[in-house]
Symmetry: C2
Subunit: 314 residues, 2 copies
């Protein structure tokens, strides 16, 4: 029996390519970026995409593949995929939830500690010889004993909260509805949450519903003694208002793994001292990337074997 | 009533100096570093030291102050103070435990996450524009799901373990005796502990009993896939053996806040890529330094009021 034809977007590690090629006939998305650069005959054969979320996947691409039936996304966030359009054509979408939750939550705590404790600046202080020449590094700020707010209490928000419990922090959260929690304080308004805490961690899903929910008003409520941490999507933050506040020290800091227009982020961020910038690497560990690739393939294999999809989105 | 005379070592923040000067007649340790540069009359008046632990405090200094009765140390570690000699002369020693436990444990977790997730290198990747120019930062390593060992299960070791529980890590520990724990695995041998874990965190007290307990053999047992984290004292590590292992990639990495001969640390550390270097800043937050100063003064005030010392060492 011939192997099913799939279309691969972007690049994969060898540990993913090998099992992918042994199970499927793998076609690569054209390096031109134009899907119709693949001939019609090949496009007719392709019934599934192995997708990565860095480009828009809408009607134009979907319509070029008349027999497309599955989009298997590598990643938990699928905000670049037009799910409604895919659904309208009977195309199923899967993602890779859960397997990256721990890593994303770990990076949130890592960024929070790295910012509050000045780990990046302190490292440079030692390496440059300033410790010996100029003495102690300036005093930084505690995490333990503070109040931390989480915007969005889905899988990742909960994993962040679970970690924070070990740090003797007061945990507050915002979500559309109040959830069952071990004593965390619910705020039905995001501005109220931002006012109540020392640190605000953004852990909502991306997409139109959460576009710029970290508005100028929320940023003002975080305030001059507050830190904003983003592990969600760059689209959730009004970056123009944020950069203005950072420059004016109207907010203490911004630690973020995600930005608008990644990787071509607003260059003004890179000139600021009161930011910690990470290159959207929240799931970028060897361990988790192996799990994500494996789950993506499990969805493809389930589809071609007519078994239920492992982690369907629609 | 005249204010008691105390001798102040090193420098203090304004928030400490003000209450210190309103309660005591404050003399400064001579900037020459030679205590006998203070005249005999002044030395006779001094009955207490407000000490910081960066220099040796032994018989030579103690004997120069015939009426010395209290050494109030700013910090939890008192390995630079000759406690036996102080005790033999009836001099009491106090320290500032507990108030810095959370900050030290936080920095241990912060260093662990910063190292495993490459936070320092990833930040430079973004700031230098490499994310946009060269693409994704290289894959790093997970913390969650690993086995972490703690050498020394005192206050700080326990606080580290408590935090790690939120990260779904398997927790192992070494101490002289087995302790009551919620299911953490005890190892009576440090080499066995090092072999069993992915990360080894050093949280023992300093002093002669723990000198170079992180020996060549322990470092080898941490191994090429293992990370060593030190928040204890530089004296606990055989730095010569460690630098050799780091250069040979016989150990994955070393994340440390403490070194021999601080702040003049072995320059070879600053040339390595597989280390995260911090300038002994584990308690260096505004919040904790205020608490440490306050507890140091509480001990001085208790002493001069003939009340029981708050946190006596001997």
């Amino acid at each position: 029996m011939s192997k099913p034809d799939i279309l691969l977007f972007e690049s994969y590690e060898a540990w993913d390519m090998e099992p992918m090629q042994s199970n499927f006939t793998v076609h690569l998305f054209p390096s031109s970026g134009i899907c119709t650069d693949l001939d019609q005959d090949t496009r007719n054969k392709i019934t599934a995409f192995a997708f990565k979320g860095h480009s828009k996947l809408g009607a134009e691409v979907i319509d070029a593949f008349p027999n497309l039936a599955l989009i298997a996304n590598y990643g938990v966030g699928y905000d670049t995929i037009d799910i409604a359009y895919a659904s309208s054509k009977g195309i199923k979408v899967t993602n890779t939830p859960d397997v990256l939750t721990n890593d994303v939550a770990d990076l949130a705590i890592g960024m929070l500690l790295a910012f509050n404790r000045g780990i990046v600046g302190a490292e440079a202080w030692v390496r440059s010889g300033k410790w010996a020449a100029d003495g102690a590094y300036p005093l930084q700020r505690s995490l333990s004993g503070t109040a931390v707010g989480i915007a969005g209490l889905g899988r990742i928000g909960r994993a962040v909260a679970k970690r924070l419990q070990g740090f003797d922090t007061d945990i507050h959260y915002y979500s559309r509805t109040q959830k069952e929690t071990p004593g965390w304080t619910y705020h039905e308004d995001l501005v109220d949450l931002a006012k109540a805490v020392d640190v605000l961690v953004v852990a909502v899903s991306g997409g139109p519903d959460t576009a710029q929910i970290i508005s100028k008003e929320v940023i003002n409520a975080v305030g001059a003694d507050g830190l904003l941490v983003n592990i969600a999507r760059g689209s959730t933050v009004d970056e123009e208002a944020l950069i203005h506040s950072l420059k004016a020290n109207a907010i203490r800091g911004f630690a973020s793994d995600v930005f608008m227009n990644e990787p071509n982020i607003d260059e003004r961020f890179t000139k600021l001292d009161n930011v910690l910038l990470q290159p959207h690497q929240s799931s970028a560990t060897v361990e988790t990337r192996k799990s994500m690739g494996s789950l993506q393939r499990d969805n493809l294999l389930a589809f071609f074997a007519s078994r239920p999809l492992v982690t369907p989105v629609n």
